[in-house]
Point group: C2
Chain length 427, copies 2
């Protein structure tokens, strides 16, 4: 039998609603587990047991119900919370206490969730690592920039965590930590109270341990009544996409993905090879320049007032490049992206989902939290919803994800198909 | 000769750079003027003379130059400032002191601007008025939601002010207060540190007293080196647009616009009638539902924790409607908007600018800060750049604007053509 901290969010809610446990008991189980594991994993930037227990007790006492009742959730520390500091991964904002909750935090609490604490982010959700280790191997990175969110969910510290994604900041830690990682259709989930890295690319992200949990949490963050994941779907149409960077995917991962495509076809899916136009190769440059241009402006206050406290790697790399980018180049790059989005429309319309790599291989050894941006940036730039499924094991038994991608605003179908795919590949 | 507070930003910079005045003298001239007029106009939510003088003196002492050197600017009080409170027009955030400057404020200071203070906004930049009166007639509204920004620039308290626009919150006060009001191409100017009303529609706005000032300030807020407004342009191609709501525009204003179109044609412009498809009539509903859906989620923390402190008009109107809107309806409305944007593309491509009403007439008597949203919402929803020019006088000599609209990312051409148009209509 699962321990309380090992339950998914959906299971937690069912158990509490059935009167078999309490919000407080669930919170304590998570806190106990964290107490044992945190010295090694280091997933939390801020965690105060008393605050957690107080929230859980208040929920128990109130008799309140809600779609997330009693579910402990972690929040990436670039997301504002009215009762916990929010430091954006930098000493510049050490101890900073926002006045209000970000919309996503307030919506989670409204649904009955228990805010467990703030999860570690890289500096400004960018390249410089935080303290978090991969929960499955402390010598490896958990992936970033939502490092703590991925590690906390992967280590059964919480069933749900909010991350964000500008390049691969949810997909990457999901793949490296062996959890589900969801990037919504761009623009759907409000980012009020979330530090903007690059507004034309940023979204929230959800880290979870089941498709049902992702779907549930998305509805909560949309501020709508939850709908169950459709279960009686026909075998889906799947476009198997080996993008231009396929040669950079490790051969073992290539084999796993090709094997998965075959297995899904055997299970009844219509699987076809999808080729994308050559223009997509330019998206790496476009993504780098667009995000750099926007970030460098967003961090003007920090650059002007706390320049020396920004890591050299970030300041002299991404920020310097972003400041050097002209408006004309920025516009050219946006035009290229818009063209690629239009080209994707007829391609993606032929399938329920695309199947593509989530990562080139397992989490690398060493501290770099944001390796191989090229594998993640493409779908992010396209604004399409994506779900990483923890379906593969690679070197040393470490996890590797597979990514399913759907068309814009087709997130619900993405969930239904993802569940079907996950069942074929895991069971 | 103009007094220092009456100079445009461009003139202020030239005067300071020529050594004919100082940042401090300009700041004092503005403060003196404000001291006399503020009891009647009430444009400022926060203004501290000592802070202003200290900034100006520091600039004088440093010998710094910059494209906005010594230019006093006002900032709408939904925009964060690290050294002045930011209250979002609500008692809920009374005295709230952000940690950092919004990107637009930091960029203004980096360019040498002097932050004069925080200008009055309506509650959460929505329907409930602040204290500001129209500087040209205290019985009339200055327009909102950027009420203080429009009034402060119109009254010569500052040459520049930042506003925002989700419906008509820059266009409206510009038209009512007799100043230039610029809404940029959506997504161009970073809104980091600006309260999100409805992210898919929100932009910054610039209130100014010349086209040159608008162009200068836009470059500063883009974080790029300023470029002069092109002056040797050929007579432009102008599409005269009488949208479906034309019958709701007051007959006197209709006459003014038709007269202007004729005058521009006489001056050499190629002026043609532009008709938009009937689908545009549905944009009022789309705008109301999309913005309502997003606002209601963005204000979850306030609704859950300070419900009674939100004005009933806002809470039981826009917010209630927004909460009741389903995700399916929200998506339908977004699809409609996307369709209308695509339909606009070939229409707008044939012209340098479109000419359209900025307002049905002069600022109405009474407190309603946000009348006739229908006239403003259309271009906002289309994401195109727009500039309101103070070219008409209506009832009691009160100002009425005319709006020029360009295609996406064609903001520089919008400025060049606007200057040409302004010269034809005013001189």
């Amino acid at each position: 039998m699962k321990r309380l901290n090992e339950l998914t969010a959906t299971e937690t809610v069912a158990t509490i609603v059935a009167g078999k446990t309490t919000c407080e008991a669930v919170a304590r189980a998570c806190l106990d587990h964290i107490a044992g594991r945190e010295p090694q994993v280091q997933a939390w930037q801020y965690l105060n047991s008393e605050q957690v227990i107080a929230q859980a007790r208040a929920l128990d006492k109130s008799g309140r119900r809600g779609p997330l009742i009693g579910v402990p959730f972690g929040v990436k520390d670039i997301i504002d919370t009215c009762d916990m500091p929010t430091e954006y991964g930098t000493v510049i904002h050490k101890g900073h206490q926002p006045k209000r909750d970000a919309a996503c935090v307030a919506l989670s609490r409204k649904a009955g969730g228990v805010l467990m604490g703030k999860t570690v982010t890289t500096e400004f959700a960018n390249v410089t690592p935080g303290k978090t280790r991969n929960p499955l191997d402390p010598d490896r990175t958990p992936g970033g920039s939502s490092s703590g969110s991925g590690a906390a969910v992967g280590d059964f510290m919480v069933p749900l965590a909010i991350g964000t994604q500008t390049t691969g900041s949810t997909t990457r830690p999901a793949s490296f930590c062996g959890v589900f990682g969801y990037r919504p259709t761009w623009g759907d989930l409000r980012t009020t109270g979330v530090m903007e890295a690059s507004g034309s690319l940023d979204t929230l992200g959800i880290l979870a341990r089941s498709v049902e949990d992702v779907a549930l949490y998305r509805d909560v963050l949309l501020g709508v009544a939850p709908e169950p994941v459709a279960s009686d779907i026909p075998a889906p149409r799947i476009g198997f996409c080996r993008p231009y960077f396929w040669p950079r995917i490790e051969p073992a991962t290539q084999n796993l993905l090709e094997g998965a495509a075959q297995r899904l076809a055997h299970a009844g899916a219509r699987v076809e090879e999808v080729k994308l136009p050559a223009d997509y190769e330019q998206l790496e440059t476009a993504h780098r320049l667009i995000s750099g241009f926007e970030m460098a402006r967003n961090l003007t206050w920090e650059l002007e007032n706390h320049r020396a406290s920004i890591s050299e790697k970030f300041r002299e790399g991404r920020l310097k490049d972003g400041l050097a980018c002209t408006y004309e180049t920025y516009c050219e790059m946006r035009d290229l992206v818009a063209r690629c989005r239009r080209m994707l429309e007829p391609v993606i319309a032929k399938y329920d989902v695309l199947l593509a790599p989530s990562a080139p291989g397992v989490a690398p050894v060493g501290p770099d939290p944001v390796p191989h941006p090229w594998v993640y940036m493409m779908w992010t730039t396209m604004h399409v919803p994506s779900l990483t499924l923890p379906v593969f094991k690679g070197q040393n038994g470490m996890p590797i994800g597979a990514q399913l991608i759907a068309k814009w605003n087709d997130d619900r179908r993405l969930f239904a198909v993802s569940r079907w795919v996950y069942q074929q590949l895991i069971i």
